[in-house]
Symmetry: C2
Subunit: 435 residues, 2 copies
């Protein structure tokens, strides 16, 4: 039903996109995905391993009408209101995760299922989006979720079609993205991943909850977020986030290390701009033990010349040491990002998120995704923080990351429905460890 309701909008967007897709390297695939919205077969992948041969005690197996892709024990129906232990629980929420067979998700899904993120009275349904290639791995993930017996995890479904997986989703965590291949330019990566996020934006627009919150992790995440929201015009742009929380966490840790204090003493940390090497970890507004960082760390040379690099090099150092990219701490930062939206921000503090610039108080260009300081009442929404200060050094660096995001935006105009793309990205700004 949601499909029919939003089909006209979707078709509109599709036509625009098709007309302007001269730079797209895989139009036919994109086109097919779009058409699938209208003609797509339902229930193409059903994976429900349950085969009860006994009459169940008090519950019955759902006829899978509304859960076409349920997995294993998660195909069983249940009645939370019928049980003493669960009748005070909140209404189930749907959480969709892309790249669900990857390592970041392998940490994140279990955190979501444990209740650590949404609380001990919030039952959840996990909807896992993978690819044809990763479908068996998705089943493996679902099996491990089964074996974990998390009482709050009531439904798990797996699929490869975002129009099915995003159905009624209230949170969507877009982790999956193609890694950059050998010799690929940033422009090429923007195009390849941009197409994925354009298609996922269309799917969100068609089938997700009208108030869905979307957090984009797949890189280049700011511009992927922009593409995604431009393809989902019926969802408020304010509901889309690009993850810069790992950068924020790393910045807090490096300031704590330098000052010789525990990391819980560092607050008011902003990451400005792009999740790339042009990002600006803001030591002008950050505080240590409630004091401005510069009053605590007097080594201005370190702050200006080493601090940012230390934050940015973290992923690269980790790959050298550990041999893998930072899956666990990335998952933690996604948890932090969600928690920051569903719990009230502590008085006087804030958090960073890459959000849509639309009337921002900092003079930053409008209509891009820019990481800025945010506060939340815990209702899933946020407001920008007004009382921040700027100096020339901070302004100059913000201008640079802003220019990069504007250039990235021009580079994906064919995917946002805003004309022909023009790519003039000056340099490689991928963060180390995220190649």
């Amino acid at each position: 039903m949601a499909v029919a309701e939003f089909a006209p909008t979707h078709l509109n967007t599709r036509l625009n996109t098709s007309q302007l897709s001269s730079l797209s390297t895989s139009l036919s695939n994109h086109h097919r995905n779009s058409l699938r919205l209208i003609y797509r077969p339902r229930n193409t992948r059903i994976s429900c391993s349950i085969a009860p041969s006994e009459a169940p005690v008090a519950t019955k197996i759902d006829e899978a009408k509304n859960k076409p892709e349920c997995f294993g024990v998660f195909c069983v129906t249940y009645d939370l209101k019928a049980e003493e232990a669960t009748k005070s629980w909140k209404k189930l929420i749907n959480i969709a995760v892309s790249g669900a067979a990857g390592m970041i998700s392998n940490h994140l899904l279990f955190k979501l299922a444990s209740g650590e993120v949404f609380g001990p009275d919030q039952p959840i349904a996990l909807k896992l989006l993978g690819s044809e290639r990763s479908f068996q791995a998705l089943e493996g993930v679902a099996m491990e979720l089964e074996d974990s017996l998390y009482p709050l995890l009531r439904e798990v479904s797996i699929g490869i079609d975002p129009y099915e997986v995003f159905q009624d989703a209230e949170w969507v965590l877009l982790i999956g993205a193609k890694p950059r291949g050998p010799g690929m330019e940033r422009a090429g990566l923007l195009d390849i991943n941009g197409q994925i996020f354009a298609a996922q934006g269309k799917a969100l627009n068609a089938v997700a909850s009208r108030n869905v919150k979307v957090i984009v992790v797949g890189n280049p995440c700011n511009t992927n977020t922009l593409i995604c929201l431009k393809n989902a015009p019926n969802i408020p742009a304010k509901n889309f986030h690009a993850l810069t929380r790992l950068d924020e966490n790393r910045a807090k840790c490096q300031l704590a290390l330098k000052a010789g204090v525990f990391y819980d003493q560092v607050s008011n940390m902003t990451i400005w701009g792009n999740h790339s090497t042009t990002q600006v970890p803001d030591f002008l507004n950050a505080k240590i033990n409630g004091l401005p960082v510069k009053e605590v760390i007097k080594d201005t040379k370190w702050l200006e010349e080493e601090f940012t690099e230390k934050v940015q090099m973290r992923g690269g150092v980790l790959i050298k040491k550990w041999g893998r990219s930072s899956a666990a701490s990335t998952a933690v930062s996604i948890v932090d990002a969600i928690k920051s939206l569903v719990t009230p921000t502590p008085d006087g503090d804030w958090f960073s998120s890459g959000v849509y610039t639309n009337g921002n108080p900092y003079g930053i260009a409008e209509d891009i995704i820019f990481s800025m300081p945010c506060r939340s009442k815990g209702d899933g929404d946020y407001e920008l923080v007004k009382d921040v200060i700027f100096d020339d050094y901070l302004r100059q660096r913000i201008a640079k990351t802003e220019a990069e995001l504007l250039a990235e935006k021009r580079c994906v105009a064919h995917l946002t429905g805003e004309g022909n793309a023009f790519c003039d990205l000056p340099e490689d700004t991928m963060l180390p460890g995220e190649m």
Copy 2:
């Protein structure tokens, strides 16, 4: 100091072990490890990256007297009683984890740090044990823990010497073990890993808390646990556990699937015996919705011929699907095992753990590690459940896994100080997916 105190016992054990080590394939290494207790250089690996150039605000860097292996920001001192947010917290506990650079630990450590296991007012110190080869990976894990900013995680130290890492440990999670190489018999694996667990038992005996709780995950875990506790005579044998909780969780899930109920309706699930293919998932005593399983699942053929295999094949199926062994759900089951000891067992229910048989009410041979049904008051201790029933089928299967454990015990006599080893293991009983 603790070393001097327990040196006589240790030497005693060492001499016995040396005399009887004719089956040991790496005695010289074992011998060197033993001698290291007396002559070992302290602080051989110091890894503290902090280099403050400013006067810290209110805290000072510890001179590393008692924290020789602290890592990064975790080298900073702190005063929980001085802060409003933390002054009501409990006293810090030390948790040591071996195999800390592996995939199971990579899930487990973040669960421990999050507060999910020991609660939101329990600060923890993580002591990570790795090998010379994995030392850089340990640093990588510690870096990700730093970047996660968990407020409850106050100390992280890394090392390769169990005598340092286990110092004052109150919980020890022994995950690290050598995997079975190509062509290696179970007897060979028992010997190689047995030596690791003999050395770790000696280290526990010398330096751990006198009431340390030890959970052994590395395979073959029952007999590794026996070896470990035999080498730690000054720690109560009751404090040692072999992990069979993943088997229990999988068994509950398979019964739920078969009955068409959600897994939270399955209770009183016992895994009897060895963590191997002779293990006995007990469908005679287990309940579904409070009723005996056999009253709910009338398919006796399935219960007797398929259920156990489904539980045991789970790991193998997962490797086929997902390409990796079950790290995430294993970590969840370790969390479950700890929680079952630190929170009161729900009325009428129980959990399984591989524990030392010493006056058990079931007629099972004494002086082995056997998985049995346990209840806890939540004080870290447990008692065996008395009201279980047996039938011939259950008795026969328990006898088989009991015989296997007695054979394994004879096979490692050189490591428990009980004479010459004699190996007559009848068949390969490693669980699929744990090769």
